[in-house]
């Protein structure tokens, strides 16, 4: 892996700011507080600083739950826009006509850190009831290079904090450390290679002085991986491939003679979670490639469509759980695994929850990777009759078959070259994150209620070319797609409520003690009652919500923040299923609400 480091040019503005800060220091204001340095202790104990939002998924367990209570069931009706800030990053590049916003803001001590689709990082001072840009770090992403192999949009889901650095990714494969005070780039390193079809859209996960990076590109014939970079030495600590090498365990699940494994996909583009009790990173793995021609790659195709548990120090795989073996549907399991502890008859059950593109929600015992329960969370599933209650595998799964057909009449295959499936290939649940209320033990899933039509293309090895699509077909959208927020009672594994929405949920969830927040690609941000899902408040942003809400406090006041700017895969590939959304304009704006 190539590495670019050393001094990087500093923008004039950043220089000026650095000077200003130094002057402030000289005037007796200490520029850097120890409390501003993020360390493992703070990352482990985010509940001690409820006003901040330090992790991409709020805590290591991925709960996206805030204990702040100023905005609650009774007061939420008074929620109003406090301030907004226009961002940039909607420029075209590659096959994309514009970028969008999918990020979760990070909040620390009254400052917000957000990204736009091309990976610019913005530090915003949120003190005093308004937002002021402190600095912007523009990584000058190579748009043509990266944008041509980004399957699903010009996306960047946000930053992480470590020490006095802001850690971020770029679509063209870099991990960048930016000085939190000045906006100056401290160092950067190439982690992914767009020449191989690899790009990065996820936010980094920070574990013990390492940045964990996932990769996208299963539509371009990559071999997926999860990589850890030491944030002091800037060196790679480990890189675990999600597709085994020849002869490694799991390689027997690729039974073809084409070496399909070499370009087998298994992307990892959604930030994972971490269980400090067992020092385990849990990360979701995406679809195998080619997506829809599963006869090209007979076998179960490990570790695609799986949840993987990795030893944090070595990256070694501790266990895996595969949801859709030999997937013919593009049913990624790239989603975050939410870690929850539920009282059980023989002590607490330690679960990992995942809501899959295939329409099923799963609880796995995270100590050993065993199936606990699973249920469909979408209204319509046509590809399987359901899950085996013991194994959690689709009932039709036959371990003796090398090419799975599930319910053959609807499953894309070489003998069923055009077919309609539910859920459609976007899910189910895509990357927009779930949220979990640990008091109510309710888990909220942002749902795409969908069917779509798949056309299969028979693949041959000569069609595999670097930086070209390797999908074995493609979807079209003859059906209207809607959405819902679906709540699951984690103690029973049953659906506790469903609020249907006119449009798919492309943004994700935030939970507070008695509310849940979410948005719609048609523009609305809304607050729902945590127990009944009844809508209590709504505001139309006039843009398309494609990012999750979060909450923080500053000057003793609680705020709700959300990025607004429709981009991603939807408005290019799936818009025909939601024709009204053609009216939504590209945009790039941060909305912040308060009472």
């Amino acid at each position: 892996m190539e590495r670019s480091s050393g001094p990087t040019k500093v923008s004039t503005r950043a220089c000026l700011l650095a000077v200003a800060l130094a002057a402030a220091g000289a005037a007796g204001v200490t520029p850097v507080f120890a409390a501003d340095e993020v360390n493992q202790e703070r990352l482990l104990n985010v509940d001690k600083e409820a006003g901040n939002w330090l992790h991409h998924h709020q805590n290591y367990a991925g709960h996206r739950f805030s204990t702040l209570k100023e905005i609650n069931r009774d007061t939420v009706k008074n929620l109003k826009v406090a301030w907004t800030l226009h961002l940039g990053g909607i420029e075209p590049g590659g096959i994309w006509s514009h970028g969008g916003l999918e990020g979760t803001p990070i909040a620390e001590n009254g400052f917000l850190y957000v990204t736009d689709g091309w990976g610019s990082v913005y530090k915003i001072d949120a003190h005093g009831g308004r937002g002021a840009l402190v600095w912007k770090m523009d990584p000058k992403t190579d748009r043509d290079w990266a944008g041509a192999v980004a399957c699903c949009g010009v996306d960047n889901r946000g930053v992480a904090l470590w020490g006095d650095l802001v850690i971020s990714h770029t679509l063209d494969g870099r991990l960048i450390a930016t000085k939190k005070d000045s906006g100056q780039v401290a160092w950067q390193r190439s982690v992914a290679d767009p020449d191989k079809g690899e790009v990065i859209t996820g936010a980094p996960l920070i574990v013990k002085n390492m940045a964990i990076t996932g990769v996208a590109g299963a539509e371009y014939g990559i071999r997926g991986w999860i990589a850890a970079t030491d944030l002091s030495t800037q060196k790679e600590v480990w890189r675990t491939y999600t597709i085994p090498g020849k002869g490694e365990p799991g390689s027997e699940t690729w039974k073809d003679n084409n070496n399909a494994m070499a370009a087998g996909g298994g992307s990892t583009w959604v930030t994972g979670t971490y269980d400090p009790a067992t020092d385990t990173i849990i990360w979701g793995v995406g679809n195998p490639g080619p997506d829809w021609d599963n006869a090209y790659r007979p076998g179960d195709n490990l570790y695609t469509d799986s949840s993987l548990a990795l030893d944090a120090d070595t990256g070694k795989i501790k266990w895996h759980y595969q949801h859709t073996p030999n997937d013919p549907y593009d049913y990624d399991s790239v989603a975050e695994n939410v870690l929850v502890d539920i009282p059980g008859p023989s002590g607490p059950r330690k679960l990992a929850l995942e809501a899959d593109r295939n329409g099923f929600a799963y609880a796995i015992d995270r100590t050993n990777g065993k199936f606990v329960w699973g249920l469909p969370f979408v209204k319509k599933v046509t590809w399987t009759k359901g899950l085996d209650p013991e194994s959690g595998k689709p009932i039709e799964y036959d371990p003796n078959k090398s090419v799975q057909t599930y319910i053959a009449s609807v499953t894309p295959s070489r003998t069923n070259m055009e077919t309609d499936i539910c859920p459609g290939n976007m899910g189910g649940k895509n990357w927009p994150p779930t949220a979990y209320n640990p008091d109510l033990k309710l888990w909220y899933i942002p749902v795409i209620e969908s069917c779509n039509r798949i056309k299969v293309e028979v693949m041959t090895p000569d069609k595999l070319k670097p930086r070209e699509f390797w999908t074995g077909g493609g979807p079209s959208q003859p059906f209207r797609i809607t959405g819902s927020v679906t709540a699951i009672d984690v103690t029973t594994g049953k659906i506790a409520g469903k609020l249907e929405t006119p449009f798919p949920n492309l943004g994700g969830m935030l939970a507070t003690s008695d509310l849940v927040f979410t948005g719609q690609p048609s523009g609305e941000v809304m607050a729902l009652d945590a127990k009944t899902l009844q809508k209590l408040w709504e505001f139309n942003t006039g843009g398309g919500v494609n990012a999750p809400p979060m909450t923080f406090s500053v000057d003793g006041k609680q705020y709700l923040a959300i990025l607004v700017g429709l981009g991603g895969a939807w408005d290019k590939w799936f818009i025909d299923s939601t024709p009204e959304l053609k009216k939504i304009q590209p945009g790039s704006m941060l909305y912040v609400f308060a009472l």
């Binding site: 590659g94 096959i95 994309w96 006509s97 190579d142 748009r143 043509d144 290079w145 041509a148 399957c151 699903c152 063209d172 767009p194 020449d195 191989k196 079809g197 539509e219 014939g221 990559i222 071999r223 480990w238 890189r239 491939y241 085994p244 090498g245 490694e248 070496n259 070499a262 370009a263 055009e418 077919t419 309609d420 039509r453 056309k455 293309e457 595999l464 070319k465 670097p466 930086r467 070209e468 699509f469 999908t471 074995g472 077909g473 493609g474 979807p475 079209s476 003859p478 895969a569 290019k572 590939w573 025909d576």
Partner: protein, 183 residues
């Protein structure tokens, strides 16, 4: 349950519309460098969003945009296809008023019904459509696999987008480099 929206083969359609009068597009405009104007249209109208910069298209999330390298269409047919799109497929129409004031394949919007092709992200003037057709004929139609030289000619930026073609011409076994070795 599945309703077929299959169309008669594209070739048949084209035969049936040969009579379509596109002479409104007139004589080739006097552009000093017609193919570079066409290249600009190829980018601006986002032909490359579906057919890629090299015109080879390819399957994928957007469905199958046909290869313009392997197209057998004539200049006139390309002009028709760009102006009217192709009913029942993802190929959009780029002429303002297509299927309304401008008749396409002898159909209006109502006749086309569910076969109505999508509307392009931008409308093109007849002159631009001719220019892009000229560009396709001159630089894309009939060309083999995309090369480094073609790529740098297309992109005038310092992007690394073309590096992969350079690498390929240097090491012909590039495909195996893509397999990645386990660490």
């Amino acid at each position: 349950m599945m309703m077929s929206n299959k169309l008669p083969a594209a070739g048949m359609l084209l035969v049936s519309v040969v009579a379509l009068n596109f002479s409104a597009y007139g004589q080739s405009a006097q552009v000093s460098d017609p193919t570079s104007a066409g290249k600009a249209v190829f980018g601006r109208a986002n032909c490359m969003g579906c057919h890629k910069w090299h015109g080879n298209g390819g399957g994928g999330y957007g469905g199958d945009a046909l290869s313009l390298r392997r197209t057998e269409l004539t200049r006139e047919q390309i002009i028709e296809t760009v102006g009217c799109g192709r009913p029942g497929t993802g190929m959009p129409f780029f002429v303002r008023g297509a299927y309304d004031e401008v008749k396409c394949f002898d159909m209006n919007r109502q006749d086309a019904g569910p076969q109505m092709p999508p509307e392009g992200g931008t409308f093109l003037r007849p002159k631009d459509i001719e220019a892009v057709a000229d560009y396709v004929i001159a630089h894309i139609k009939g060309a083999g696999e995309p090369t480094y030289a073609e790529c740098v000619a297309f992109f005038s930026s310092s992007s690394r987008v073309c590096d992969v073609y350079k690498a390929e011409s240097q090491k012909p076994d590039h495909a195996t480099a893509n397999t990645g070795k386990s660490q």
